[in-house]
């Protein structure tokens, strides 16, 4: 009687432990996602100008705000006339804060630089075509001679459609993530195109065609490969593949989307093979026997019965493979060349989203827009992988209902 009571109690406790740990895990995951998106969305609405700085022009100038790209091009000397940004003709004079110290001697600024704003205002007044990039701390008050350019806020369009990723440019960092998205898509798509047919082929071979001896050696070997850290793959890519690609295709550099795709494919293969093989293996022998007993050949049995039966497991393999390809960081960082430019072909250096996050997060101050932009990239990556798995889910569901499995 007592023993029975104890048993019941124990079951209740175990049950509780499981449900509590389940709940904690779920909450943790939800919190991570919320955190990711909260940090990321802080980006929109931030000023396009570096934190703590503003741009000033002469009050007579009719320009009252500039896009981040125009700002950057003005300060890079690519745009030299106000006409090009919609103003009155006149050569733009770029003025950076430091230059004030060349114009006046130290004591002209008075105690504690109290007169510095006035001097800056004077400079702006004297140069009708000036654009000055000044810290807010010493900035002159807007007046009849000085006009502060109104801040433009970073918009989703700047972020998603911008073609330049220059997070450390001053005065106006550019967070166009299109090259990163395209880089990620290019590399992962190429990797997936390589890895899927190969991986599924090997899985079918291992589970259906190879004899037991080969399988007993190959399966653990493949699983071992799945556990190798990605740096090792990256190192292999860098040492072997990159020079090979460079020589074979006579390229200026071997670190290209092509190399990265191949390394990624190699990395994704073991996961795909292992999961797909398990899925195929789990199909009951009764299904195979039923098919063979009706006079179907081995191949007919494989593609008409085994593969359709294993469909959801195979899809899991595909999703995991794509996930690995899209999210992989280290190896890609090492072999892709890391050039954040719009990719035009496989044989150019590219940069992927995860590689960007890994490379830049350490340097981005945690209160700045750069930091937020990196989080936003994380969100995009999260959305990517979610789309892949939801699509897979829908495909299986659809199959189920259409054939009423």
């Amino acid at each position: 009687m007592l023993a029975k009571r104890c048993n019941k109690l124990r079951e209740r406790i175990v049950e509780r432990i499981f449900s509590v740990s389940g709940a904690i895990t779920t909450i943790a995951i939800v919190l991570i996602v919320v955190f990711l998106f909260r940090e990321g969305f802080g980006l929109f609405g931030s000023s396009t100008i570096e934190n703590g700085y503003s741009l000033f022009v002469n009050a007579k100038n009719d320009i009252s705000s500039l896009s981040p790209t125009d700002t950057k091009r003005i300060f890079d000397g690519e745009i030299t006339d106000w006409r090009d940004v919609g103003g009155k003709a006149g050569e733009i004079k770029v003025f950076r804060f430091d230059e004030i110290f060349n114009l006046y001697s130290e004591d002209a600024f008075g105690d504690n630089y109290a007169l510095l704003p006035d001097k800056l205002a004077e400079v702006i007044d004297n140069n009708p075509t000036i654009i000055a990039f000044l810290p807010d701390k010493y900035a002159p008050k807007p007046s009849s001679v000085v006009k502060r350019l109104t801040d433009r806020r970073i918009t989703a369009a700047d972020f998603v459609l911008g073609t330049q990723w220059l997070p450390t440019a001053t005065p106006s960092p550019l967070y166009g993530m299109l090259p990163l998205i395209l880089g990620t898509l290019l590399v992962s798509l190429f990797a997936v195109i390589l890895a899927l047919p190969l991986g599924l082929g090997v899985a079918v071979y291992l589970s259906e065609l190879s004899d037991n001896r080969i399988r007993r050696i190959m399966k653990p070997a493949v699983e071992l490969l799945a556990g190798i850290p990605s740096v090792v793959y990256g190192f292999f890519g860098l040492a072997v593949l990159v020079p090979l690609v460079q020589r074979t295709f006579a390229l200026p550099v071997g670190e290209t989307a092509f190399s990265a795709g191949i390394v990624l494919a190699i990395m994704a293969l073991p996961t795909i093979i292992s999961v797909a093989e398990d899925a195929l293996r789990s199909i009951s022998p009764a299904m195979r026997e039923a098919s063979l007993a009706l006079g179907a050949t081995k191949w007919q049995t494989i593609y008409r019965v085994v593969i359709p039966c294993a469909k959801s497991g195979l899809l899991a393999a595909i999703v995991l493979g794509i996930g690995r390809a899209v999210g992989e960081t280290m190896a890609v960082l090492m072999v892709s060349g890391n050039a954040a430019v719009m990719p035009h072909s496989l044989f150019e250096s590219v940069r992927t989203i995860p590689a960007t996050i890994a490379a830049e997060l350490g340097e981005a101050p945690s209160d700045g827009t750069h930091y937020q932009a990196l989080f936003m990239l994380g969100c995009i990556l999260f959305i990517f992988t979610s789309i892949v798995s939801i699509a897979a889910e829908i495909i299986t569901k659809k199959h189920h209902t259409s054939k009423e499995l």
């Binding site: 026997e289 039923a290 009706l294 006079g295 179907a296 039966c309 054939k403 009423e404």
Partner: protein, 255 residues
């Protein structure tokens, strides 16, 4: 000579091995066409193994070996160069557990036709219907042909598997305990079905159910520990067995 000609199946000095294990020992028998032959015997005596010889299903198991002569319609089915796919079209099989494919009812029955390269839609749906009618399932499923086969009951699934086997028009049907997982009503329907199918098919059936064997079969074979202890007309086996082991088994004194 003439008598062997209407023997659709004959086994001569068959020995069968799973690796080292000697599962069938010197089996000899002949079966004439359009008859029902039942095989009985205690569990593990080799009934399934014997049945699976005739569509070479045992080939799928690694390390098996056969000695002796196994003829189907006068042809040595273990000769070199025998096309097992063709053999299996001629020798259909129904398994102990219903094993429909995760496809629709229609596609389950059509499967054997499709893998044999049959593409004519009209022909296929005609054949699906006649097969389902032969398996006494048509009336129950004619309105849900395109529903999943898994939505059927166990007994219906087993009749579906029979229909599936019939669709390729085999001449021989191997049935390994086809009713063992079914309730008495479903079992009765399958027994009726077997008796009816006898007109067109040669049926070999394994069963643990003595009454069933005596009800439906023309001949009965009694296996024990890999040996065919006795083989003869069902009436003789059940009323006047020659061997003591057979008598003991049938009367329930044994196993």
């Amino acid at each position: 000579m003439k008598s062997t000609n209407n023997k659709i199946i004959s086994a001569k000095h068959i020995n069968f091995f799973y690796k080292e294990f000697h599962a069938l020992k010197d089996i000899n028998l002949e079966i004439s066409s359009q008859s029902v032959t039942a095989f009985i015997g205690p569990s593990g005596c080799g009934k399934s193994t014997f049945l699976r010889l005739f569509n070479r299903m045992n080939d799928l198991i690694h390390g098996t070996r056969i000695e002796g002569l196994c003829l189907v319609e006068g042809e040595n089915i273990y000769a070199k160069g025998v096309d097992t796919d063709r053999l299996r079209k001629k020798v259909g099989m129904v398994f102990q557990k219903p094993n429909p494919f995760p496809k629709t009812i229609f596609e389950n029955v059509a499967y054997g036709l499709r893998v044999n390269g049959m593409g004519d839609k009209q022909f296929i749906s005609q054949r699906v219907e006649t097969s389902l009618r032969s398996a006494a399932l048509w009336e129950e499923v004619k309105d849900k042909l395109h529903k999943s086969a898994y939505a059927l009951s166990g007994g219906q699934q087993q009749r579906l598997c029979i229909a599936r086997a019939l669709a390729v028009e085999p001449s021989i049907l191997l049935m390994d305990e086809p009713a063992s997982a079914l309730d008495p009503i479903s079992t009765a329907r399958i027994e009726e079905l077997i008796v009816r199918l006898k007109q067109n098919y040669t049926i070999l059936i394994v069963t643990h159910n003595m009454q069933q064997a005596s009800r439906i079969s023309d001949q009965t074979g009694f296996f024990m520990m890999g040996e065919l202890v006795e083989f003869g007309s069902t009436k003789q086996i059940f009323t006047a067995p020659e061997r003591e082991q057979t008598y003991n088994y049938i009367s329930g004194h044994f196993g």
